[in-house]
Symmetry: C2
Subunit: 157 residues, 2 copies
Amino acid sequence: MPDLAICAKESDSIIMDNFPFSLRTLNLKVTPKRLAILAILMEETVYLSPEEIWGKMKRRFKRIGLPTVYRNLEELSEGNIISKVNHPNRKLYYYLCKNQSHHHHFICLSCRKVEDINFCAAKKINKEVKTKLKGKVISHILQVNGLCKTCSKKSDI
Amino acid sequence: MPDLAICAKESDSIIMDNFPFSLRTLNLKVTPKRLAILAILMEETVYLSPEEIWGKMKRRFKRIGLPTVYRNLEELSEGNIISKVNHPNRKLYYYLCKNQSHHHHFICLSCRKVEDINFCAAKKINKEVKTKLKGKVISHILQVNGLCKTCSKKSDI
DNA sequence: GTATAAATAGAAATGATTTCTATTTAATAT
DNA sequence: ATATTAAATAGAAATCATTTCTATTTATAC
Ligand SMILES: [Zn+2]
Ligand SMILES: [Zn+2]
Ligand SMILES: [Zn+2]
Ligand SMILES: [Zn+2]
């Protein structure tokens, strides 16, 4: 189905084109390095570490500091443009999800693939917190860790 | 209601009494230090950092190393006797929940209070991962971060 | 263009967590 | 009780992912 592939690429570029707007909305300047970080993440179906992103940035810029990568990833994540992965190894990983609507992720602990889980308990949870606990929700984490289809087959052997 | 208080204490000691059994089930030796860590966590309604637990341990033992605290907390958490908190500041915190059944937590980012959320999407999620993604679930995180009743009132001012 | 605040490079520091080895201890079998 | 053995521990030291710092550069608004 070449149509699907073309379609996917078009929608990708639509997302890419919107990054400057998204950045400005967050009061972040539209710098070449910010856009490059987003472009790098756009190309991936797996979550990446700051150091790995730095490695890819070094191919595009002759001067690029690791702190810049860390800072930008944190800002982009804070602004909900990218998402942070809660890895059991407690290291930082980031992922850019093309799916704009609120949802959560299944992450593969082996190959790092990320897949969408079209399920969110937010409404029920917010209700329970509000009525029963009388608290104020700031954020919620829902993440499923495991082995993707391919990796679970491998470990079957 | 003094009855409730007594009842609560009795149920606590029932849990306490079961720790040696739980530890043996996990092939962990029943050491005074393990039991003390559990006793310290039992007394708390808030999550504690390893360093804070170490501080309390130093009152009970004249020789007690911080690595011992870290190691034990990790083992107990791995064995599901205690639960790890996913704090936005990315530091380690642990909590011992008296509620034995599977559930999740609302954590206060201000006073560190932990409250139960009697809701879990595990069944739905497992089903979605199994049927749609054909993956294997290893673990899932569901945690709600916010301000508890008391703390959200304070920040209203 | 100019002004200004934000972003960045690069070096350096940080500090929570982990690793290491010698010693001690709990559990089990005499 | 005593001996045996594997697990647990103390304390010092190392690790290293992440953050901080300051001078310089750059995006943006006028
Ligand atoms: Zn995989
Ligand atoms: Zn997604
Ligand atoms: Zn609170
Ligand atoms: Zn609980």
